[in-house]
């Protein structure tokens, strides 16, 4: 039995905290066999999706908030956004590369996925947002905002930014 799994006493986790020093529980996961990752690539590399990396030691939250070092449960995201003083971007036109996009279940509000905006170009109907995200533990993809696996359902998405344009 592992007491304090994901916490500071767990050797499988790394020391990680928000800007307000709130510990972020996490777990470093084993890599998956290459044939499993190639199966994932075969399933997911389609449409607008461009494979960037095939690793399974972190998830989407770990990619965005822990530099790909570990797995973090999505339930930790609200505390991270709050402590790190992210601000929600209400107007899609204001989204910029580097901002964070959070995908949420339409009915429950549960966070199902998170990524980083790589490009936001065009206006109105021609607006195209490209996102970099790790699909679960199935690899990192660059993809259109809406082009995520059916597994995630048809989520709503919210944008957040830590940008400051004045002191």
């Amino acid at each position: 039995m592992i007491f304090g799994e994901g916490g500071p006493a767990d050797k499988a986790s790394i020391s990680l905290a928000t800007s307000k020093n709130r510990p972020i529980p996490n777990t470093r996961l084993p890599e998956r066999p290459s044939q499993a990752l190639f199966a994932a690539k075969r399933l997911h590399a389609k449409g607008s999706r461009q494979l960037r990396s095939l690793r399974a030691t972190y998830n989407c939250v770990g990619m965005v908030f822990a530099n790909r070092r570990t797995f973090i449960e999505p339930e930790e995201i609200p505390a991270i956004l709050q402590d790190d003083e992210y601000v929600e971007i209400i107007q899609a036109a204001d989204v910029m590369p580097g901002d964070v996009v959070v995908y949420q279940n339409r009915a429950t509000g549960a966070i199902v996925h998170v990524g980083i905006v790589l490009a936001a170009e065009g206006v109105f109907e021609t607006r195209r947002i490209r996102v970099l995200s790790q699909f679960g533990r199935d690899g990192e993809y660059i993809h259109d905002l809406h082009d995520i696996p059916e597994f995630y359902g048809q989520p709503v998405f919210r944008f957040y930014s830590e940008r400051r344009t004045s002191s």
Partner: protein, 126 residues
């Protein structure tokens, strides 16, 4: 689908890849619990839980490359969850302990920990 066919399907890399899209533990378990293959597995497990326990024990004794996650991690998770819905507490306990002794499991070991800790009267109540 017959039990051997369902077991073969849940042990495939494609099924593992689909379930590993989950961003976290809750999403993984929800996706597994609602997947048609898993619902069929639950039906078949009710008829023959011993075969599922035997399969778990067989997998738990297999040698794996310990540099990597156990390739049966998702399948073991499915077997454990199916047993927890329909099998006797003794069968669930045997299966959970076998998974706890299986190297390099992630999703399955989390489920096994919870099942091993759960009071017997609380099982089969989901």
């Amino acid at each position: 689908m017959t039990l051997p066919e369902v077991m073969d399907a849940v042990e495939q890399d494609d099924f593992s890849a689909e379930m590993n899209l989950a961003a976290g533990t809750a999403a993984f378990r929800q996706a597994l619990a609602t997947h048609p293959l898993f619902r069929r597995l639950v039906e078949l497990t009710k008829e023959n839980p011993g075969e599922i326990v035997a399969r778990i024990e067989n997998i738990s004794h297999r040698g794996i490359d310990i540099r990597y996650e156990n390739p049966f991690d998702v399948a073991l998770s499915a077997y454990l969850m199916a047993l927890s819905e329909s099998a006797s507490p003794e069968a669930v306990s045997t299966a959970a302990n076998a998974v706890l002794g299986t190297p390099q499991c992630w999703w399955a070991s989390g489920i096994a920990h919870e099942l091993a800790l759960q009071p017997v009267g609380h099982r089969n109540s989901r």
